[in-house]
Subunit: 470 residues, 2 copies
């Protein structure tokens, strides 16, 4: 167990790679093969039926490669996987990622047996195996990927890492997140978990200096006590999405990655027991909240101020604040006087501060007054304006974002922006927001829940620090 950390790193920083089943026809694995062969990662294609792929010489077997190989990526058909795993072990690889699907999740005895044999190989050698039935890993720090990630598209680098079962989190939600300005450090898909599991990866990510927030999508756990142990020890915030709450959902998990979902109430109890572990309800919520942890300072208290251009949405936020047992900040007299002196008589200045259409005139001064108010621990800015009203009209979004970032950093108060409206308005915001690292989201409930978890983490973190100091 002592050399586990070294083992995991081979998946993220391999010195040499073989892609077994590499292909240049458009099918699963195409994007990865194309990317790695044209990258600086030392990559060798292996395919018994080909001579050249994307201009690179192809080897019939991994054992024909005249070089040491650290990592083997396997994308051959399911019937051929066992043989290729054996060859890779003989070659002396340190890690194997099996992406091919069609094993225990099929429920077919023949394929279950193949998976069992692969599991035994992992147990009886020093080789660590990820998969089968996954898309492997992506390391955004060095741009290494075994998934269908295209680094030529605008992919954001960040400090969120993801542990998941299957492909949807390995690439599809990475792309969604990128389009929201949410950035990652590592993503890991584990598939059927013959060897490497979430516990190995939690231990790796806890030490990883580029990871500040960990998100996990869980279908089932084989090593329950070990999971509890590592969750206890973790000093980074962890957001967990556990599916299979229902009976029919549990059955579906069996057909997906062959896992057993387990009793949901047990998970719920465990997640609640340890500080810094937060359960979320869906992928959007998971990544939106992770982005707040990754980019914003922790709040000192639970008093939230709201600046809105829509009264209705301000009220919705109030409902969420009360539901989650946070508080609506009571602005002090100085703040109110400052805002009154610059606002039209029809604006509603009591928190939630509804600036309505006067938003563009009075935002900067209102923002400054509110964030400097000692009664305010965090700010939600609700931005809801109609679409491009006149040609070439430009919203003063960039200076506002810059002001928010500067004040947030200086005063150590977290800010979240919720944007509503046409795609034009939302795109405009996202285009200008990335460099200022203020989280932008479409759901007020996610924003308030993020403040809630940040507040809890700030409290718990103090306890953890005290424990360490004593």
């Amino acid at each position: 167990m002592s050399n586990q950390k070294t083992d995991m790193d081979v998946f993220f920083n391999p010195k040499s790679i073989a892609i077994i089943g590499a292909s240049e026809s458009f099918k699963f694995g195409y994007t990865m093969t194309n990317y790695l062969l044209n990258s600086n990662f030392k990559t060798y294609p292996v395919n018994i039926n080909k001579d050249v792929i994307f201009g690179h010489k192809v080897f019939k077997s991994i054992n024909d490669i005249p070089d040491d190989i650290e990592l083997a990526i396997i994308v051959v058909k399911n019937e051929q996987v066992l043989e290729v795993v054996k060859e890779s072990v003989n070659k002396g690889v340190k890690g194997i990622i099996i992406e091919t699907a069609g094993f225990s999740e099929t429920g077919i005895e023949k394929f279950i047996q193949i998976q069992d044999e692969i599991e035994k190989i992992a147990q009886n050698s020093n080789v660590r195996i990820i998969g089968p039935n996954c898309v492997g890993v992506t390391n955004f720090d060095n741009k290494f990927t075994t998934a269908e990630i295209d680094f030529n598209q605008s992919i954001e680098e960040g400090t969120i890492s993801v542990i998941a079962q299957s492909g949807v989190l390995g690439n599809i939600f990475v792309e969604w997140s990128a389009s929201q300005g949410i950035g990652f450090s590592k993503t890991i898909t584990l598939g059927n978990k013959v060897d490497v599991d979430e516990i190995d990866m939690l231990e790796y990510l806890e030490k990883d200096k580029n990871t500040n927030v960990i998100t996990i999508y869980l279908e089932g756990v084989k090593r329950g006590p070990e999971l509890i142990n590592i969750l206890k020890k973790l000093n980074k915030p962890v957001l967990i999405l556990k599916n299979g709450r229902s009976e029919i959902g549990s059955k579906a998990i069996k057909s997906h990655t062959g896992s057993i979902a387990g009793n949901d109430k047990i998970y719920e109890t465990i997640f609640k027991q340890y500080s810094g572990i937060y359960r979320v309800n869906n992928f959007y919520e998971m990544f939106n909240i992770a982005q707040v942890f990754a980019t914003q300072p922790l709040p000192k208290g639970k008093n939230i101020a709201i600046i809105t251009s829509s009264g209705s949405l301000g009220i919705l936020a109030c409902d969420e604040i009360e539901r989650l047992d946070l508080s609506l900040a009571v602005l002090n007299d100085t703040t109110m006087q400052k805002m009154k002196s610059i606002s039209p008589n029809w604006t509603s200045l009591k928190n939630p501060v509804d600036l309505g259409p006067s938003l563009f005139m009075t935002f900067s001064q209102s923002l400054k007054a509110i964030l400097n108010d000692e009664n305010v621990d965090a700010l939600l800015h609700i931005f809801a304006v109609p679409q491009q009203p006149i040609k070439d009209f430009s919203l003063p979004i960039t200076p506002h974002l810059r002001e928010m970032r500067n004040l947030s950093t200086k005063l150590k108060k977290p800010i979240i922006i919720c944007v509503f409206g046409s795609r034009w308005v939302v795109e405009y915001f996202l285009k200008h927001s990335n460099k200022y690292k203020i989280p932008i989201m479409a759901q007020i409930s996610h924003a308030i829940k993020a403040f809630k978890y940040m507040h809890e983490f700030a409290q718990s973190n103090k306890n953890i620090n005290k424990k360490i100091e004593n």
Copy 2:
């Protein structure tokens, strides 16, 4: 009360219009003034300080206009509104929309009194008044609007109508909905409700032949018994978003449109008591579910089939199905055999049917087999694929949408698509989906809730019909 319908119609089909406070400088009301003056609606600008606006002669007072005026739209400053209302009544208008804000919602005695006087004028005349503090109405059927809606942008026409308090629903969510392919018939914002309220509009929309689904955002109700009466009578599905559940939310409502939120438990009881009335949690949920009612046939039962390209997301859907007491359809042997004959050995064919990357090869035949299965009442299609993998690669989305539309119509089974991934994938879908009227959404929970409400409505609707027949 007998001529109310005629009265309401003046707001949606006015023969002649005066905009009092019309302006060509960029401020509130600009887009509307620009649009109406250049439209076929007979519109007269009124402004005491101007002679010409957008090339149109301006009148100093509504009483200077040498024509009958049916509808006056008021956008002058709050201090001037009372005088201008009186002039409009003298002119003999049938309806007035006061968009100006700054009345009871400010909590300032002076402005509360002005609002009270306007209320008395409405009570003592035949003139009906919408507002103040709103953006009035939009009629998508004839393209009449008093809101900041730009019909030159791609706005969808449809059969959903909206009743709301304030601007965010009058324009911002209309724009969001348009970008999702969701279409409207009428939107109405009521503001502080000195006269016209949700009950007047519910009566109007119940009779309106272009409205099939009614959505309401409620902050508070003055005529409780009348609301219950109309909700009892309605034969169209109604989706209600009621804010101000919390104490602090209720207080914020007072500062927004001067309404009293009322006890949330009373609302909850009323909404649950009458069939066809469904409470929703946020605006996205409201419009996503409304779009399903507006475009899909009602399901005959509660058995849902899922075709997914992501196992994880299929499981999430299973959890939602069980949570809402619906059922996962058990596919019959014929369906399973048909699918087995065309699918690779690694696909998981038991519902949820996970086609994985084979989606593009086997979708059409799987779809046909599943929808023709007598055990299936409704279909959720979860589409999650990585972004544009190769240049000029085109997803076979259009033919799939056409097949879904044809089968859904022929077999009378509702279909919803949930799309996940990069903006590229989502945009691609939305661009090709509008004409096939299959609802596209990003939240699985909304899709399952839509099936739930559709199922309940199908049941209740039968009862309503029976009552009518007896």
